[in-house]
Structures are given as structure tokens and as C-alpha cells.
């Protein structure tokens, strides 16, 4: 079955410096995909590039297909229809992501007018329905309010309402709960789950918080220094990560229950995009690096039914059992 969105060899460079190096990822209808990574991994840039939201100074190449149709480099009018109407995006820090001088009705109504062709009283009615859906009390009166009159959690709900206004098939949530308190985070994630159940919308959840991604996504992709290093079903990834970075990342999460153990601390820091290592980007910090790791970057290879790992070393088969060099 054709995936809803598929990215193929997506590459982004700013002034000649590559920040994204050949990302290939796909999202099926109704699926929940998680994208995990630390700073410099490129997880946000991936989707900003896919939706054409990067500034003109960014050089984007590769392929982005929406149900088989190529949208990378499409005309601005086409992209305006895709954004919000087919693929919606919500961001971190909802307080600054809403226009402070426009009312909520105006901001939600804008999407309704653009993608559903509504106007006048119909906009008010539908906007009210959306606010009710996301749990904003007293929606009718609150439509005339401004973003600063709401709390952070409520602002994020409004963002979700705005995103839903266009009836998108896919929602990209870029760190939607990072700036919020833990209990509010739980509310927002519960809301997103409920919306998905009711509308069958697909979602890409981008986060640096492994726990959030684990609990809310079917499939997870781990990114490091502009590349996808492992992709697997959620439960499998967290039970048995294959890539040394994924392994280290999961090990550095303190457990909330069970016995305490010393946290895995990956030595070193993320490489500077201007000075990326020759071969595998993670090799300088990898405890299992061997000679072939330094020559060229490993591509994603299939491991089992629905996993891919970008590593030439098989962690399972003992210390350094190097998979066939010609594999590429």
C-alpha cells in the first residue's frame, strides 16, 4: 500500500554545510511515527524542509512524495494548499507560536476559510466546535480572546484546533509538550491520542524525550547528526536497540521503576556539521567502532522484518562481527 508521505534521500544544506544527509522515511495512513534525536540531529529540519518552510538560503534536494505526488519544489500555491490542508504542523512553545495581536477566532478561522472554504457565521460555529473538541471551556466567549489570555497548555490545544481545522491527513508535532509541565504534557498527549482515534489522522511525533515517543508511537526512527541511524517498531527498539547510539541513548534514560543502574553516558559530543567525520558520524564516540566505520557512512540496512539499522557491526553477534563490506 502506498505510504501517505515518503521522504527519499532528503538533503538540506545551509551555505554549503550539510545539516541533513539523505533522510529516507515513510509514514503510512493513520500511523504514529516517532522521531527521536538530540540537538543537531536534524529532526525538526527534516519536516520543515519537507513542507517548504525553510528560508530561501537552504538548499534542499531529494524527494518528498505526498500519496505518490512529488511536492518538493512545488509551486507556492500548491504548497499553500498542502500545508494545513493535507499536512499540518504544530510547534514547541505554543505561547510564541500564536500571533499576539489577532484573536483566536481570526487565527482558527483563517485555516477554515483557506482549506474548507467557510465564511461568516459558519466559521464561528466551526471554530467553536473545534475549541470544544480540544477542551477549551466556554468556547463561544473565548473565541474573541487573544493568545496571551490563555495558559501554555490551552495555547497548545488552540494550536491543535488550528491544525485540525484543515482536516489534515498527517500532523507533524514538533516537540509539542517540551515547554509544558508534566501533568499538562499528559493532557496534551491524551488529546492527541483521542483526536487520532476519532479521525484516523497519522502523526509524526518529534521529541528528544524517549519516553514520550515510546508511549505514543507505533514506529520510531532515531536520528543522529543529520542521518537516520535506526528505525524499528517502538517496543522492539526500546527492548533491543541495535545501533550503538540508540543503545547508548536508551541506556542514558533513568528508569522510573525497577532497580537503579548506572546511566550509560556516551562520551564526547555531537560533531559540528562543518567538520563531520569521514565515515559513520557516530564512530568517534562509538565503543565498538572498527576500521570500516571510518571510511564511508553506513547506509540503512534491513534487519529482520521491519527494522533498519545504519551500522556495519552486528551487536548481537559478539564484539566485532562486521557485516559484509559490500552491503550498500
Amino acid at each position: 500500500m502506498q505510504p501517505l508521505v515518503s521522504l527519499d534521500s532528503l538533503t538540506v544544506a545551509f551555505n554549503g554545510v550539510k545539516v541533513l544527509d539523505g533522510i529516507s522515511l515513510s509514514v503510512g495512513r493513520g500511523e504514529a511515527v516517532g522521531l527521536v534525536g538530540e540537538s543537531g540531529s536534524g529532526k525538526s529540519v527534516t519536516w520543515l524542509a519537507a513542507l517548504g518552510l525553510l528560508p530561501k538560503t537552504a538548499a534542499v534536494s531529494g524527494s518528498v512524495k505526498l500519496e505518490g505526488t512529488e511536492i518538493l519544489g512545488a509551486a507556492p500555491a500548491t504548497m499553500d494548499r498542502v500545508r494545513g490542508g493535507r499536512v499540518a504542523m504544530i510547534f514547541q512553545d505554543p505561547a510564541s507560536a500564536l500571533n499576539p495581536v489577532l484573536t483566536i477566532r481570526r487565527q482558527v478561522g483563517e485555516s477554515l476559510a483557506l482549506h474548507r472554504g467557510l465564511s461568516g457565521a459558519a466559521i464561528h460555529a466551526e471554530a467553536r466546535r473545534l475549541l470544544d473538541l480540544v477542551g477549551i471551556p466556554d468556547a463561544d466567549r473565548r473565541l474573541s480572546a487573544y493568545p496571551h489570555e490563555f495558559s501554555g497548555g490551552q495555547n497548545q490545544r488552540i494550536m491543535i484546533a488550528m491544525a485540525l481545522a484543515g482536516n489534515p491527513d498527517l500532523l507533524i508535532a514538533d516537540e509539542p509538550t517540551t515547554a509544558l509541565d508534566a501533568t499538562i504534557q499528559a493532557q496534551i498527549l491524551e488529546l492527541i491520542r483521542r483526536v487520532r482515534r476519532e479521525t484516523g489522522m497519522a502523526i509524526v511525533l518529534i521529541s528528544h524525550d524517549l519516553g514520550v515517543v515510546a508511549e505514543n508511537c507505533d514506529r520510531v526512527a532515531v536520528m543522529y547528526a543529520g542521518r537516520v541511524v535506526e528505525e524499528a517498531p517502538s517496543a522492539e527498539l526500546f527492548d533491543d536497540p541495535r545501533h550503538p547510539y540508540a543503545h547508548g541513548l536508551i541506556g542514558s534514560l533513568p528508569p522510573i521503576d525497577g532497580p537503579r543502574r548506572r546511566l550509560t553516558a556516551i562520551a564526547g559530543t555531537v560533531p559540528d556539521p562543518k567538520a563531520m567525520p569521514q565515515g559513520c558520524a557516530f564512530a568517534p564516540r562509538c565503543g565498538q567502532a572498527a576500521a570500516p566505520c571510518g571510511t564511508k557512512p553506513p547506509g540503512l540496512r534491513a534487519v529482520g522484518e521491519n527494522r533498519r539499522v545504519a551500522c556495519v557491526i552486528d551487536r548481537h553477534a559478539g564484539a566485532t562481527d562486521i557485516i559484509g563490506q559490500a552491503a550498500e
Binding site: E38, S39, S151, G152, G153, Q154, D181, A182, T183, I184, Q185, A186, Q187, L189, E190, H208, D209, L210, G211, V212, A214, E215, N216, S234, A235, F238, D239, G248, L249, I250, G251, S252, L253, P254, P255, I256, D257, R260, R262, L263, T264, A265, I266, T269, V270
Partner: protein, 333 residues
């Protein structure tokens, strides 16, 4: 049993604000009667969301702000008043590290000079000793020697936090308050710094107050934990037990909201309502508007923090000494 190193008794801090030039002054109660103690060599984790008053408590415990009521005792005696010579001298015994290491460091001074500064201020020994101590400190936080000559903006987030830690430990303090020290760092760097803190605590017999909103990190590093909500401690106890069987409804919600991979998807507790506003505190128990188990008494009367089991105190009308929960914990024979 030896006396605790730090003892906090019914601490209160009210911020008075004027609304506008001719407005009436209002009081916002940030800390509302907080009591706990920390034993030598132990770490107490202080957990809460925004508006809980945990950062203010941290500053009060160090004497960086004067409390409006209640007291803080360090090593048996009351903290000296701010800005007195005794207070300044006590800085060598207790220190603090913060969330933003870049803001905590002077942009114009190289790292080694900043790590050295506390030694100069407290006139510790002599030149040679101080230089050697700086090197020792840098090594203990696992920063290489050349880092000492660099400036803060040339370092990574993790390195900066370690530099701040080295500076805080310069005068061999007994007590360290950490206010969200790893929240701004990447997960793998967090792990580095948390491991470092645990190692240093064991090495130096440090007593710590670790303030954070992240339960997972708090559990990793603390022996005991206090959960705060709108200026009050709602639950206090042993870290492991508290997270495995939380008694206060707020703690239960907090634990449920902490996402963790591989956890059995038990019943998710999602609190309704908005996060608390310290300027508009509810009557009675501050948590009652959002509490799934609130009843009439909760609106009228604020529950006191009572010990319901050995090493577990809860401030909730539902967990009095005769409640089923207390029986379950073995408080009542």
C-alpha cells in the same frame, strides 16, 4: 541517630507585588509552610511543576532570600542573616548550581579563573595551593586541563555545567543545592552530569538538595523525595517507594505523567483543569480543584503533612492514619 545537616521548619515566603503605580499591594505566597530535613551525605529530591515553589525553597534553604516565617538550620544552628560577615563565610559551606550554566559563568573570564574565584574570596591557603586545587577540581569533574584556558562560550553545555560544578565545589562545601541542573541539556549529556554528581557525592560525602521537574532524574539521584504543589509539601518519603506506590493523588498523577519506555501501560491518570496559579490559591487543600478524589473536607481544610508510615508523610485527608493506604503501608498494626 545523628542530627540532620539541614533542617527546614515551616518555611514561608510571600512576595509582595504592587499592581501598577497606584495599585493595591498583593501577596503571592510562593512557599507556604515547608518542613523537611536532609541527613548528612544524603540527597533529597524536590519535585514539582511550575508554581510549586521549589526553586524559591532552594534559595531559602541556602539563605539567598530571607523567609517571612519559619527557619532553616544548618549543622544545628540557624542560618545567619543575609549580607552579614557570618553569612558570607557560610557560603564556603554551601553552594548552588543552576539550570543555565552560561548565565552562571562570567563571559569575560577563562574557566580556570572562575573556578579559582571562591578560593580567592575566602582566602584559602596560598597561591600554590589554590592553583593545585583548581587543577584537582578540573580533573574531578572530568574536564581536561586545556579547558581551563577557554571561555564559556567556547564550551559545550555539558562542559559548562561541569565547570560550574567545579567552581561550586572549590571550597569543599558540605551542602550543594542543584536547581534544575540538567534540564537544559541533551539526554546523553544529562546522563554524564548525573553520573558525575552521584560519583562526587560518594567521594566527597556531599549532602544535596536536588530540585527538578523531571521525576526520572530525581529518582536516579535521590534517596528521599519531597513533592511540592503550590508552595506546600504534599508527599515526602523514600525515593523508590514513593514512585512505586505514591499515596497523594498529585504524586500519582505526576508519576503517571512521566513517560517511560517499556512501562506497562497501566491506568493513565490525566488531571483536568489548568496548572495552578500561586496568585490565586484555592481554599483548603490547594490541589482540590484538580483532584479526582476530592470531597467536601478538602475544600474547607488544608491537610497537614503527617507521617503515615515509617519514612513516608502525606498531606491528604484521604490518607489519615486509619486509612486503608496507611494500613497497606504497615503504619497501623
Amino acid at each position: 541517630m545523628t542530627a540532620p545537616l539541614v533542617s527546614v521548619d515551616r518555611l514561608v515566603r510571600i512576595y509582595r507585588m504592587r499592581t501598577g503605580m497606584f495599585g493595591r499591594p498583593r501577596g503571592v505566597c510562593a512557599v507556604d509552610g515547608v518542613t523537611f530535613s536532609i541527613n548528612r551525605g544524603e540527597t533529597l529530591g524536590l519535585v514539582g511543576e511550575s508554581g510549586s515553589g521549589k526553586s524559591t525553597t532552594g534559595r531559602l534553604v541556602l539563605g539567598l532570600e530571607n523567609s517571612d516565617a519559619g527557619s532553616v538550620a544548618f549543622n544545628g544552628s540557624r542560618l545567619p542573616a543575609m549580607d552579614t560577615p557570618e553569612w558570607r563565610a557560610s557560603r564556603a559551606r554551601m553552594q548552588m548550581i543552576f539550570q543555565d550554566p552560561l548565565g552562571a559563568l562570567d563571559r569575560r573570564l577563562p574557566i580556570a579563573a572562575q573556578v579559582r574565584e571562591p578560593l580567592d574570596i575566602h582566602a584559602v591557603e596560598d597561591e600554590a595551593f589554590r592553583t593545585a586545587r583548581v587543577q584537582e577540581l578540573m580533573r574531578s569533574v572530568r574536564l581536561s586541563d586545556d579547558v581551563g584556558q577557554r571561555y564559556p562560550h567556547e564550551l559545550s553545555g555539558g562542559q559548562r555545567q561541569r565547570a560550574v560544578l567545579a567552581r561550586a565545589l572549590a571550597t569543599k562545601p558540605d551542602f550543594l543545592v542543584c536547581d534544575e541542573p540538567v534540564s537544559a541539556l541533551d539526554v546523553s549529556i544529562q546522563a554524564q552530569v548525573v553520573n558525575l554528581l552521584i560519583d562526587l557525592q560518594a567521594e566527597l560525602d556531599l549532602t544535596m538538595l536536588f530540585i527538578s521537574h523531571d521525576l526520572r532524574v530525581v529518582r536516579q539521584i535521590s534517596e528521599r523525595v519531597a513533592v511540592m504543589y503550590l508552595g506546600r509539601v504534599v508527599e515526602l518519603g523514600n525515593a523508590d517507594d514513593l514512585f512505586v506506590s505514591p499515596q497523594h493523588p498529585y504524586t500519582q498523577a505526576l508519576v503517571s505523567a512521566s513517560p517511560a519506555p517499556g512501562r506497562r501501560r497501566g491506568e493513565r491518570i490525566v488531571l483536568s483543569g489548568d496548572p495552578p496559579n500561586p496568585a490565586a490559591k484555592p481554599s483548603g487543600c490547594a490541589f482540590h480543584p484538580r483532584c479526582p478524589s476530592a470531597f467536601a473536607r478538602c475544600r474547607a481544610e488544608a491537610p497537614a503533612l503527617v507521617e503515615v508510615a515509617p519514612d513516608r508523610s502525606v498531606a491528604c485527608h484521604l490518607t489519615g492514619l486509619e486509612s486503608p493506604a496507611a494500613v497497606a503501608l504497615g503504619a497501623v498494626a
